[in-house]
Symmetry: C2
Subunit: 331 residues, 2 copies
């Protein structure tokens, strides 16, 4: 039994995280022992290790923030969920671990028999993608959205969720090799960022969308990429930032903000969890779980590792050259 723990924070995330022994405590009244099946490494997890995230847990802490597990032992006076039931672990509990002790009452049961790796990612990226498509602009069927970092976890879900709603996507990537896979995944348009063949991103977007008015831009990169995205938007559009993969502040020309009347907003899922009602949350998750269970929604996986290889897993997850999510799985 192992857990991936960090006692300090530091700018090289793989240096602070390490696999240490998990000593199973005596189960108390109402508790269950869970065996972890899968837990992803999200960008926010890496920023939590480096100390750059908006909320930081007290140290020492276990890495990871979401995942799915199987109930393997009941503590005193526990009758459900059944032994063997697949459950979602509560957020903020530290999911990069082979085993977790949790209160039976707070566990949400998930359908058994669905790929645990796909299920393990439902609490963060799919609701982020889904809510960014619905919380800022009232999009109708046939409307266009543009996003950068289109190959990220959120980006992949956004392509699929938009398609299911009849919304068209322009997807901005950094490598030409990503164009084909994203088109195959349902993207309407995929373009490499910056100047290509002497043409700005804005000009190429205009050509590829027949000059459609793009009402929503979704930025996970920051730096000058924000400005390039802003340049593609229609007058009165909204630009939502939810990440800073470039490590740079968002840059946006006043000529875009002022003359094109662009509204810039931020999206933070943790805040949505604090301010939304349990009914709103259930609604969002029920839809997502349904889509994953029926195979309509999935994200590409770059690699899987077990807890003992956490340093290597975090190294790969923190690097920019992935083609999907890194997931910690049962050995």
């Amino acid at each position: 039994m192992l857990k991936a723990e960090y006692k300090t924070r530091g700018l090289v995330p793989q240096d602070v995280i390490e696999a240490v022994s998990f000593d199973k405590p005596e189960l108390k009244e109402g508790q269950v022992l869970l065996e972890m099946l899968a837990a992803p490494i999200n960008p926010s997890d890496v920023l939590t290790l480096t100390g750059q995230y908006g909320i930081l847990p007290p140290l020492p802490a276990i890495g990871g923030n979401e995942g799915v597990a199987k109930v393997i032992e009941h503590g005193p006076n526990v009758s459900s969920p059944d032994i063997g039931q697949t459950v979602l672990i509560p957020m903020g509990i530290g999911s990069w671990s082979t085993h977790i002790v949790a209160d039976a009452k707070v566990l949400v049961s998930l359908p058994n028999g669905v790929d645990p790796i796909q299920l393990s990612m439902i609490t963060i990226n799919p609701p982020t993608a889904s809510l960014m498509l619905s919380e800022f602009v009232d999009l109708q069927k046939g409307d266009w959205v543009i996003q950068n970092a289109a190959n990220s976890g959120v980006g992949s879900y956004l392509i699929k969720l938009a398609k299911l709603r009849g919304i068209k996507t322009v997807n901005v990537v950094r490598r030409e090799s990503l164009i084909k896979p994203l088109l195959a995944a349902g993207a309407d348009v995929v373009l490499v960022d910056g100047i290509v063949d002497g043409l700005s991103l804005a000009k190429r977007v205009k050509a590829a969308t027949d000059s459609a008015a793009i009402k929503l831009g979704i930025d996970a990169v920051g730096g000058s990429a924000t400005d390039r995205l802003g340049g593609t938007l229609a007058e009165g559009a909204t630009l939502v930032n939810y990440g800073a993969m470039s490590g740079e502040p968002c840059s946006l020309a006043p000529t875009v903000i002022i003359f094109k009347d662009i509204t810039v907003r931020g999206f933070w899922l943790a805040k949505w969890f604090r301010t939304s009602t349990p009914e709103q949350q259930k609604g969002v998750f029920a839809t997502i779980i349904g889509l994953i269970a029926t195979g309509k929604l999935s994200a590409p996986i770059h690699a899987t590792y077990s807890v003992k290889d956490i340093k290597q897993a975090v190294t790969i997850a923190a690097s920019g050259q992935r083609n999907g999510k890194v997931v910690i799985v049962k050995e």
Copy 2:
């Protein structure tokens, strides 16, 4: 009779503008001849000369976009406004001229006997300041606002309009020498931008306002100044950009946009004119004219020039080291 004309646009604004002869045309039915009393040089006028503004008039064009004049001759079938009446010239007509021919019908009469220099600036800066205080955040008496470029025309009006409404202002400037004059003009707090005595702007704002929640930030500078302003704002606040005195794109950390849930908006007066009703416009101007006529609202004047010295006037207006507005006046 002279007019300040430009036939091309160029990055050195004083190189493209020049005083040329104004040949008075025969007045047609319904027209009047106006003698200009005063017309300011606004930052947007300079950007129109350099070609960096959102709307550019066809060339050749007369510089300037607002001002006041006196009716000195009636064309055929004109009976009002009276000869000698002070009037506001219509926007977009080119105000840096000793004389202007205009349709009598579109002229708005202003109170005679009020300082024409102060009256000449009412159509752009005061409504910009007034609307930025009212269009984005529902501010109550005692609420705090922060602005940079506090020594600009808009900045000076904003200090006074906020004070008249019981709203408190933090004013960010680049030079310590501006602190005293702005405090004397009604500013509640004046701080030099950047790090001072090892303390960030955000820390000094906290100390000076007793940690007040600042709900509105007003940015005319762009570049890293936008980020420093953003860092002083309360969670859920709005940051309004209306200019780019730094010449750089607005820079804003995703940690501010996302974790503090800051909304970034732009303000462009020309758009407000296009989208507001005549009643809304009359309401805003009636208030401003009343405040100026009674001496409650005024802006500092750096220097006045006549049309023949337009190159020198534009040189000074385009430089950063002014202590007030440059105004073109009757010789």
